[in-house]
Point group: C2
């Protein structure tokens, strides 16, 4: 790991990974052992590794999986999540999007939004609603350094202040939104994958079939080229942003937040995006 | 030009290029016909096209060329600058670095600084000193959109606030520093090259032999890949930065500026970087 000037054996890597996670939890005051944590679990390496590690560290961590209805990909994802649930003896909740609304492939056909955008909306809405209704104090997601830097780069290239102001490893609870944290934000995806492999966590290795042309994949590739030439750039780009720049962009203005007329969830508009998606689908 | 949603013939392109330059001059209040302008001329497409256009628009624009002493590359660069001077009947001044100090190849061997860094230092120092001493009110450089976005990207990846705060198409006069402007900041290098070609301006086509491994070249390549995928990104990245972000980063604090003990030029340290370079070279 040239960006950390470290080269470790498997056992030391696991130790290092766990100590580093604890430091991140502490640095950003993510949660304590008193919190009830809901881990957003997709069946991929990051979220399963996160769930595993939080349970190992003794946190009260249940998981929610959203079945997106993307054929075999979704079936496998659910299975991997179930397998880990059994191993951890921890509770896994499942929301079935096909039953609640419609699967991603169907939703994509009915709207102009791209699949990744619908998927993000569906996840944000359901994780938050479920967590608040069931009394979880924190939603933890498995976003890694590659996820965070690729979206940071994309938002910087467009200077999207709305998104930049919320690009943080911690979003505090506010007006119907449960606290959100990203404990793996400093790990590259290679590091989370390695941690999962070394701990025998069986995760879904295929990428989502809709992500092939996603701009995040494109930006990840570019950042990997930059990292190769200038090791340490990703971590510096992200951490310096959080420490030096985010405070300049921080938008804590939530005065415009209303409650959705239909579902009552927090929304900047009269009817929230999820209910608008629902309306289109029902038609 | 997909980023402008335009496709023009040669004549229309020239008209468009000139109108667009006038708009940029006005938008950023670069200079008026009363100003005495010193164009920093390297012999490349950008600076020669800029000098040509400013003369065509009736501005009082002389040029300064710094002979960097990089063998045949420097000889050719000087010759191209001389050729245009004759054609424009405008004055070209030449500073010979080899006589004043030493050529870039020699300087590079004697210091730990990279060639591009030494070259930048030498140019900034000499253009400013020459302009102020000879009574020029503005120094105009040929930096194009590719130059500006590649350095912006590099500075953003490192969140270098010192440089980011000065990444502007106009730096006002202050404490011994002459006003600096970049009238071509919105043109891609393809556009400035085309304008030069269409006007029969003979410029040096080779890249500087020291620039092969330069990180700016690397970032330009990356930005070209992004631009290909998302046309308009470069221009938006730059202009949105100038309009929305730069005011947040702007550092007008020049209280620390002193006069160099040796040469009297403005400097943040007791002895300026140029004089320190000189000291090393004399040893």
């Amino acid at each position: 790991m040239p960006h950390h000037r470290l080269a470790l054996c498997g056992k030391d890597f696991i130790n290092w990974f766990e100590r580093y996670t604890k430091r991140t939890l502490k640095e950003f005051r993510m949660f304590s052992h008193k919190d009830k944590i809901l881990v957003a679990v997709s069946g991929g390496k990051d979220s399963l590794a996160l769930w595993y590690l939080l349970c190992k560290l003794g946190y009260r961590a249940d998981a929610l999986h959203i079945n997106l209805g993307i054929g075999e990909y979704s079936e496998k994802s659910l299975q991997k999540s179930r397998d880990l649930s059994l191993r951890l003896k921890a509770e896994l909740f499942v929301v079935d999007l096909s039953k609640e609304l419609a699967g991603i492939p169907e939703l994509q056909e009915k709207t102009v939004r791209e699949a990744c955008s619908i998927c993000g909306l569906v996840k944000r809405y359901n994780f938050n609603k479920f967590a608040r209704e069931k009394g979880y104090s924190v939603v933890a997601t498995g976003h890694n350094l590659d996820d965070e830097t690729s979206s940071l780069l994309s938002n910087v290239l467009n200077w999207n202040l709305k998104y930049l102001g919320r690009k943080s490893p911690v979003l505090e609870e506010e007006k119907g939104f449960v606290k959100k944290v990203k404990p793996f934000c400093k790990f590259t995806e290679k590091e989370t994958a390695l941690y999962a492999l070394l701990n025998g966590i069986d995760f879904i290795e295929e990428e989502c079939p809709f992500s092939k042309d996603a701009s995040t994949v494109f930006y990840k590739e570019l950042l990997n080229r930059i990292e190769e030439k200038f090791p340490g750039t990703k971590l510096r780009f992200y951490l310096e942003y959080i420490r030096k720049i985010l405070p300049k962009f921080n938008q804590t203005d939530t005065t415009d937040l209303k409650k959705c007329k239909i579902c009552g969830e927090p929304s900047p508009t009269d009817v929230c995006s999820f209910c608008r998606l629902k309306e289109i689908t029902v038609r």
